[in-house]
C-alpha cells in the first residue's frame, strides 16, 4: 500500500514525547525555518512538547510525520492569532482616523460577540477578495478549494492541464494574500523578516 508505517518503532520509543525528544533537533530546525525566528521556534517547541504530553498514549502510525504536522499547525495557529490582532489594531486606527461615530455610541460588544463579528467580517472580506480574483484563478480556486473537486477534475472542467490549474491556484493565493494585506488582515510578505537564507542551522545571531 506504500504507506510508511513505523507504529511499532514509535510505540517502543515511549509515546509522543519520547519521539519528540528523539527528533528535537530536526523539529527545532524546521520550526526556525518555518517561522523565520529562532527564539519563536524555541517557544513553539515548548508548546509542541506540552501538546505532545497531553496526547493520549496509543500507537501512532508514523509519529515523526505526526509531530512535524503538529509543529506546522502550531505555527499556522500562531500566525492566525497574530494576523487577527493586527487586523483589530488596523481597524481601530481606521475607525478613529475616519471620523467614525463617537466611541460612546458604539456599545462594547462582549468578547463572544466580538469574535463573532470578526468571523463574519473575515468571511465577507474573503468573499470580496475571491470575487476580485482574475477569472481563471477564481474559477480554479472555487472548484478546487471551495467545492472540493480534485485538481484533475478541475483541469477537465476548465479544459486546461494540471499544471495550468496549479498556476491558476498559485495566482489565486498570491492575489488573495495581497487583497487580505490591503484589508489589514495579513501583514503581507515582508512582516516577518526572514534572516536565515544560506544558513543551514538558523540561529538568532544570523538574523539582521
Amino acid at each position: 500500500m506504500g504507506l510508511g508505517n513505523d507504529a511499532e518503532a514509535d510505540r517502543a520509543a515511549g509515546g509522543l514525547t519520547g519521539l519528540l525528544a528523539g527528533h528535537r533537533a530536526e523539529l527545532l530546525r524546521f520550526l526556525a525555518a518555518r517561522c523565520g525566528d529562532a527564539g519563536e521556534a524555541q517557544d513553539l517547541l515548548q508548546d509542541l512538547w506540552i501538546k505532545a504530553s497531553a496526547h493520549a498514549d496509543g500507537p501512532i502510525a508514523n509519529g515523526r510525520a505526526y509531530l512535524f504536522r503538529m509543529a506546522n499547525n502550531l505555527v499556522l495557529d500562531r500566525r492566525r492569532a497574530q494576523h487577527r490582532a493586527m487586523r483589530r489594531d488596523h481597524q481601530w486606527l481606521d475607525e478613529t482616523a475616519g471620523g467614525a461615530a463617537p466611541v460612546e455610541d458604539r456599545p462594547d460588544p462582549s468578547p463572544a460577540a466580538d469574535a463573532e463579528i470578526e468571523r463574519r467580517e473575515e468571511a465577507d472580506m474573503l468573499h470580496r477578495a475571491i470575487a476580485a480574483l482574475p477569472p481563471g484563478a477564481q474559477r480554479a480556486l472555487r472548484l478546487h478549494r471551495i467545492e472540493g473537486r480534485p485538481q484533475a477534475e478541475v483541469a477537465e472542467i476548465m479544459g486546461i492541464s494540471r499544471s495550468g490549474v496549479e498556476k491558476h491556484l498559485a495566482v489565486a493565493m498570491k492575489h488573495l494574500r495581497n487583497a487580505l494585506a490591503d484589508c489589514g488582515y495579513a501583514p503581507g510578505a515582508a512582516s516577518h523578516a526572514q534572516g536565515q537564507a544560506g544558513g543551514d542551522v538558523p540561529r538568532s545571531d544570523l538574523r539582521p
Binding site: E26, A61, F68, L76, M173
Partner: protein
C-alpha cells in the same frame, strides 16, 4: 521576477498539499524553507489563505443567498472598490450583536423593530465549538461545520456538517433546523444531526423530534433511541433503533457505523479527523459497520481499509479508498 513569485507560490502550494501525507518529505520542506526567505513568506500566505477558506467554506459556497440577505450592500458590490457601504452595514450589525449577546431584554425587543436581525453564522475549522442560545439551550458544532441562526427568537437554524443539539423544550417557539434537504421541527430534546455526502442523519438521545423533507409523504416522528438516515438523492428515509451510547459519539472521539455506505464513512472521517479522503466510485455504496477512533485519523482509515479489504493509497488530493487490484 513576477513569474518567479508565481513559481514560488506554486511550490508552496505543492508543499502545503503534501503536509497531509504520511510520507511528506519534512526534511525537504525544511531545506526548501531555508533556501530562500521568500519561500516561508509564500508558504505562510498559502497556509493562511487556505485556513481562511476552510473556515469560511460554508459561507463561501452555499451561503451566497444568506449573505445577500444579511449584507445586501457588500454582496451587491463584490469588487472592494467602495469600502463605504459595507462599513455602514457592519456597524449596524455590530450594534445589534452587541446588544443581543448582552441578552438585555430591552435590546432584544428594540433591535428587531429597526431591522430584522441578520443571521448569526458560526463556522468551525479543526475544533468543535459550543454555541450558547439565549434561552439556555446549546449547540455543540462539530469540526468543519457551519451553523447559521436566524429569527427574533433564534428559531431558525441551518446546519451544514454536524452538530449536537441540547434544546430546551418551549412549545411557544417553533424552532426549526434545516440540514441538507430535511427540516427538523417540534424539538425539545437532545439529538445529533449529521449532514454529509448527500445524506442527513438525525439521532435522538432524549425526547423526540419531527423530521420532514419535501419528497417524504409525511413527517416522521423520531423518538429517543432512534436514528433516521435521509437519502437526498432517492428522497427516502430509514429509521432504526440505536444504542444510546452511540448517539453523538463523535464528542468522545469515536464514530460508529451500522451498515453505512463508505462514502458517508469517508465524509465523517474527513470532517472529524481532518483528513482529505475520497472514495473510488465503485466503492461508494460498500457498507461498513463498526467503530472508528478518530484521534489519529490516518490510523482509523487504515483500520477501515483493512476491515473492508480495500486499498488505501495516496492521490494527488489526499487519501483515496480504492478497489483492491
Amino acid at each position: 521576477m513576477n513569474r518567479d513569485e508565481d513559481g514560488i507560490f506554486a511550490e508552496a502550494l505543492r508543499w502545503h498539499a503534501d503536509t497531509l501525507r504520511d510520507d511528506m518529505d519534512w526534511d525537504g520542506f525544511t531545506a526548501w524553507l531555508e533556501a530562500d526567505a521568500r519561500h516561508a513568506a509564500a508558504y505562510d500566505a498559502v497556509a493562511l489563505g487556505d485556513a481562511l477558506i476552510d473556515e469560511h467554506r460554508g459561507h463561501l459556497a452555499g451561503a451566497a443567498a444568506e449573505n445577500r440577505h444579511a449584507n445586501d450592500d457588500a454582496d451587491a458590490a463584490p469588487v472592494p472598490a467602495t469600502p463605504a457601504p459595507p462599513v455602514v452595514v457592519r456597524r449596524g450589525w455590530m450594534r445589534w450583536a452587541g446588544m443581543a449577546i448582552a441578552a438585555s431584554l430591552a435590546a432584544v425587543l428594540v433591535a428587531p423593530q429597526i431591522m430584522p436581525p441578520p443571521p448569526q453564522v458560526y463556522t468551525t475549522s479543526a475544533d468543535s465549538r459550543t454555541v450558547a442560545l439565549e434561552d439556555g439551550s446549546s449547540v455543540l458544532l462539530a469540526p468543519h461545520s457551519t451553523l447559521s441562526i436566524e429569527g427574533r427568537h433564534q428559531q431558525r437554524m441551518a446546519l451544514s456538517g454536524g452538530a449536537w443539539f441540547d434544546i430546551r423544550h418551549d412549545p411557544s417557539r417553533a424552532l426549526a433546523i434545516t440540514a441538507g434537504g430535511v427540516e427538523i421541527g417540534d424539538i425539545g430534546t437532545r439529538f445529533d444531526v449529521q449532514e454529509a455526502a448527500g445524506k442527513v442523519r438525525v439521532e435522538v438521545a432524549e425526547g423526540e423530534v419531527q423530521v420532514s423533507a419535501a419528497p417524504l409523504a409525511q413527517p416522521i416522528r423520531l423518538v429517543e433511541g432512534r436514528g433516521l438516515v435521509y437519502d437526498g438523492k432517492g428522497g427516502t428515509a430509514v429509521v432504526r433503533p440505536l444504542g444510546a451510547e452511540a448517539i453523538g459519539e463523535w464528542r468522545q472521539g469515536r464514530l460508529s457505523f451500522d451498515g453505512a455506505p463508505l462514502l458517508l464513512v469517508a465524509a465523517d472521517l474527513s470532517r472529524y479527523a481532518g483528513l482529505r479522503v475520497t472514495v473510488a466510485p465503485g466503492l461508494r455504496d460498500r457498507a461498513f459497520s463498526g467503530t472508528l477512533v478518530i484521534g489519529d485519523g490516518e490510523a482509523a482509515l487504515r483500520d477501515l481499509s483493512q476491515v473492508l479489504g480495500v486499498d488505501l493509497r495516496r492521490g494527488p488530493d489526499g487519501l483515496v479508498l480504492d478497489e483492491r487490484r
